[in-house]
């Protein structure tokens, strides 16, 4: 059992973390196996040995994080349902909070993973789009269904639009620090948790506006 225990100094874990950082900073196609290997302090052939290929590495990165994030979302969604009818704010917070918590956890590399998701979600790269769909279309569906349960007049298309617009604002928030800092030297960087609480308020109001229009 001890040989199965992995710390951050293990080769494969170092590669996973370096891969997260590289994909977040350069995108899927833009990240290079050579650069990841250098960052992880190993040889490029080690990545092939542990993960087979660049895409194999990406799948391993996703396995390490997304099952945990999605499980937390489902737990929060189930908890809301036991307490009766959730509100729009409840649902959006249940969806975004696990991401907030992971993004705030900078030491463990969670921030890089969340940034990577933000980059991939709006990427044009086929591999990135496929990975996002494989890992998040299921949970997305469970939340769009929940929207429609509390607002039965919404069509499936309405719920998908509400979900994707909220997600778009959430992703903008994750990537916000960079552009905001470039736009103004005076920009006051809030911590991630505070910023994403603002997003929950922003998106909830937006979704309610879509529901009650016309």
């Amino acid at each position: 059992m001890l040989t199965q225990t992995r710390t951050d100094s293990d080769v494969s874990t170092a590669i996973l973390s370096a891969g997260e950082r590289a994909f977040a900073e350069f995108g899927y196609a833009g990240a290079s196996m050579r650069g990841i290997a250098r960052d992880a302090g190993v040889n490029q052939a080690m990545i092939a040995y542990y993960f087979g290929s660049k895409e194999g590495l990406l799948h391993a990165i996703m396995r390490r994080r997304s099952s945990f994030v999605n499980a937390q979302r489902d737990i929060r969604l189930a908890a809301l349902r036991t307490k009766g009818q959730p509100t729009v704010d409840d649902l959006i917070e249940a969806f975004l909070a696990p991401l907030i918590e992971l993004a705030t956890d900078e030491e463990q590399g969670g921030y890089s993973y969340v940034k990577m998701l933000a980059v991939f979600t709006h990427s044009v790269d086929e591999v990135a789009k496929r990975v996002i769909a494989e890992n998040f279309d299921g949970i997305a569906r469970r939340f769009t269904d929940a929207f429609r349960e509390i607002e039965p007049q919404m069509t499936e298309s309405d719920a998908i639009r509400a979900y994707l617009l909220s997600l778009g604002a959430g992703i903008a928030a994750v990537g916000i620090a960079g552009r905001a800092g470039r736009m103004s030297g005076q920009y006051d960087h809030p911590d991630t948790a505070k910023l994403l609480r603002a997003v929950v308020a922003f998106s909830s109001a937006g979704v309610r506006a879509l529901m009650h229009r016309d």
Copy 2:
């Protein structure tokens, strides 16, 4: 004068349009000069002859469209100011409507240009980020200033966040067709103008919620 008149059949214009399509579909780094040349029906060396380099082509693409979009935004903003105090909805519509109109104009390639902007705005590519900043940070500043005029208690950082979250939702809307269609075969694709009217409602409500929080 006649020799200056360009139609879509001109070589340089064909290259510009093919470049827009390629950058929108593959991103800046992912688009290839070979592919663009093939799509435009010319040789790869022609791109170098007319535009110097890949980055030169991108700058030419931006020159063709962004000055027009930003001029329309400034005209709308000035018109609002002559009529007294604009509302949040007014400002967001003034900013997004020129983009809506261009995106709706599929024949002239406006859709590809807007899609390209959406891709570049959340891109990690240094060239893409620089081009976005060069072309849009000025107009962004004029709109964040306008936010603060109607809501003086907002700090500059508040206004930047409101602007970037609204833009994030707007960009999500532009890219929405693809992911929504993949999420559900039942997705009912609204026309671009209708979709982006929904974004104005969504983002306006979101910004108002940020303004009146706590």
